[in-house]
Symmetry: C5
Subunit: 91 residues, 5 copies
């Protein structure tokens, strides 16, 4: 999984019906020292993460293993809101 | 998922029969500020996106979770036409 | 999917028996302006593409969704021979 | 698979219930000479690896093929603690 | 698939039991001209490849489509020993 920071939201009216009702959050990847990277993805939120929160994100087919994303065209999902990172070099 | 901009179309007569009738769009990835990146993929369009539109794209096995791509040799699909991006640093 | 150019062939006698009879083509990725990139993959050919042809290639689990690659240890397949690319910035 | 070094732990209270009880380790990738790279992922630990240990890590859907990760939204898992690397250029 | 060169072996006693008996080879990726790249992965060997041999490697879920890797936490497998590469720019 990847550590990220929620920085925004994507709005779309015309979409695959399987995406109906899903919150599409923009998540920028975090470096180990807590700085945000340029790389970002749009992820479905399964845990109610708000803007500015540090999150854990699963990608690929693993992103479809939550109750709200199962069998849907989703390749990134927020699976946790991070309380703390204990690591050498972490901020 | 990834944000992209539809910039063109691929035409192919000789192809795997499972691709018959599918629109193959060229999608360049977008940075968060809305500028287009060099990186691009060819994606099947499931929502009728036109040239110049900003879209959401799913990749990998998740690209096969729409009605028109299921069980087909497709690894990228346009799943939404983006109305608005609300994000720190977005254009 | 990715646009590529077939530039060669790989020959192997000792191999997993599920690869028996498969043509293994070397495909270099193409930029949007038609120039070849350094990046290349070895792909199974499902459409009879010859050296020098521009092709469409699917990767990952999607590469196993053709009749000849199903359930085999193959992660890249040529799915179409490209007739034309209509795109901003295309050659 | 990828060689990595366990450098830390991620703590999260609010998370997808399928992650309950899983140890989330931060693993930095190793170069062949044993130096740590900047690239890191958060992986579920299936073998009891401690901080500072060199490990083997599987990613993508293969990360869900252990008893503790099956069908869960997990895209990286530690599958072995490495005793020794015999390689040209290895430290 | 990717062309690689076997450069070493990984030894691990404490591991997921599904990896028992598998030979874990270190494979460095090859450029088209035959030079080895820095990028490497640890792959299960399904064809008896020795150190120094040029091999074909499948990754991701496709790496689980051989008899010895099926349903196991393995994301890279050697599927062939390469006899010859015929390509523009190949050594």
């Amino acid at each position: 999984m990847v550590l990220g920071k929620v920085v925004g939201t994507v709005w779309a009216t015309r979409k695959d019906e399987q995406l109906t009702g899903m919150k599409l959050q923009i998540v920028r990847e975090l470096a180990l020292d807590g700085t945000v990277r340029d790389r970002f993805v749009v992820a479905v939120d399964s845990v109610g993460a708000g803007i500015g929160e540090t999150v854990l994100m699963a990608q690929g087919s693993s992103a479809r293993q939550t109750d709200i994303t199962r069998n849907r065209p989703v390749d990134a999902v927020i699976t946790a809101i991070v309380d703390r990172v204990d690591a050498e070099g972490a901020a």
